[in-house]
């Protein structure tokens, strides 16, 4: 009697152990998905006056040079003008010793400054608004 019970039970137990393992593997996949997303993209973007949108990554460089992440063809910009990078959950903007400077809400910045939503960044003659994508947070991981 006990033997029969144990024989039946062993399949059930292994099934349950694998179900547990499956759940934890799924958690790992969710982790990795989030990690890839957070290491690559952020929920923020820059909106240009002319309506163009530039998504911000973990490190985004802005300038006239062709290898910048955001290339802006404007004679008043330096070739490597400014850099926006992620630290913790904030995005920090740093002026890369540009000739004409970087302004946040009209004030010229000297050292690295944390950006807040709806800040207006002025570089050369261009104005950008720092905005957050609202809907992105909700659909996180939904396509797995």
């Amino acid at each position: 009697m006990y033997e029969l019970l144990a024989q039946v039970m062993k399949f059930l137990l292994i099934g349950l152990i694998y179900y547990f393992l499956y759940n934890f593997l799924k958690l790992m996949v969710l982790d990795l998905y989030e990690e890839r997303k957070s290491s690559d993209e952020t929920d923020y973007y820059l909106k240009c006056e002319d309506g163009r949108e530039f998504p911000l990554r973990k490190v985004t460089t802005i300038g006239r040079a062709k290898d910048s992440d955001i290339v802006i063809d404007d004679p008043y910009l330096s070739s490597k003008h400014a850099m926006i990078y992620k630290r913790g959950r904030r995005l920090i903007i740093q002026d890369l010793k540009s000739t004409n400077g970087t302004y946040i809400n009209g004030r010229r910045i000297k050292k690295a400054v944390a950006l807040r939503e709806k800040d207006v960044i002025t570089m050369g003659s261009r104005k950008f608004t720092f905005l957050r994508r609202e809907a992105r947070g909700l659909e996180r991981g939904s396509d797995i």
Binding site: Y2, L13, I14, I17, F24, L25, L27, G88, I92
Partner: protein, 409 residues
Amino acid sequence: MDSREEAIYNRSLTAMALVGFLSFLLLSAYRKPVTFLPFYGALAFLTVVFLGYFFTGWVLPNSDKFLFLLSSFLAQLGLIMLCRINPELFKRQVVFFALGVGFFILISFFTKYLLRLELAPFFYWAVTVVLLLLPLLFGVEKGGAKNWLVFDGFTFQPSELAKITFAFYLAGVLKNGRIDSFPRMATEILTVVGLLAISKDLGGAMLFYFTALIVIFVATSRPDIMAVGCFSAAILGVSGYYLFDHVRVRIEAWLNPWKDVPGRGYQIAQSLFAIAEGGYFGTGLGLGRPDFIPAVATDFIFSAFAEEFGFLGAAAVVLMYFLLVYRGIRIALRLQRNFEILLAVGHTVMFGMQIFTIIGGVIKLIPVTGVTLPFMSYGGSSMVMSFASLGILNGLWQSALEGEDDDED
């Protein structure tokens, strides 16, 4: 935490409770006068798990439930095997588990204060050496290694605590990303390893040596030190084979256990028979013969598990340990300061090496050495200190998340 993860955790908690109830009910019917001792033990165990789970969630909102649930599940599988092998040990192990969870919560809470202390690495090294010297001077011998301390009726293995202080020492001495004085550090590490070798704890010596090597590599990214370290490990191993008799016995039993099955190769041969008996699905709980394997409750619990739960169950256990190590590495990747990163790496590598040493030992991949399988083996010091290590990882995880929250420029 988002609701999606919450739902997954709840499902795994349900699966865990089901495994517990089913197998302990089965074990209640296993011994002839039917006793409900296993079932009560399981109730106590699951109560501790649920209390620990919800209490950590309440005290520390960012607590890493992944680590806690995974290690509790492994502890549960260990308890099932212990209950089947020896109900007396099972009763004590449930108490050790409760103690371990207590330590886990306490240490996850106090790690941030511990990190602020910033003691000199020499202090941690001195504590490690004292911990390893104590059993050499006052200790008793158990199972061939002299690494136990006895205080009236209650035994303690200081080398388990030394693992934690040693990880702190390594993190402290390497926190600048370079080696300040190589001869000094080599002497300090080799003293620790030598003390373990003198107490005949070869597994422990190997564990500490390779952990030190890997943490040095992570801190400095210098392959030359890694190569020199591996080369000198090979030389030490070969000279140990010719110089010490107990090393030769282990290695000969590993190379060919069938030469002397009733004598030297007995442990490993019985372990291999048990694993072979299991097949894919195992013999079924209570239908194997783990009583033939020596030291089955401590070092060889993995072979008993492989016999009764089969290759599939054993593979699941190995994968779970892999996930535990993965989570530790993930915590290390999220941290900012060098000291904290190396501390997390040190603890994770210590776990990984320990699991590799003992599982590799019982399946005859490497010579068998007496270290415990964290969370599954019987043993109070091992259980409590493994949970304490996890507590430190969890505490580091808290500080990683807090650092992200209040990161003003």
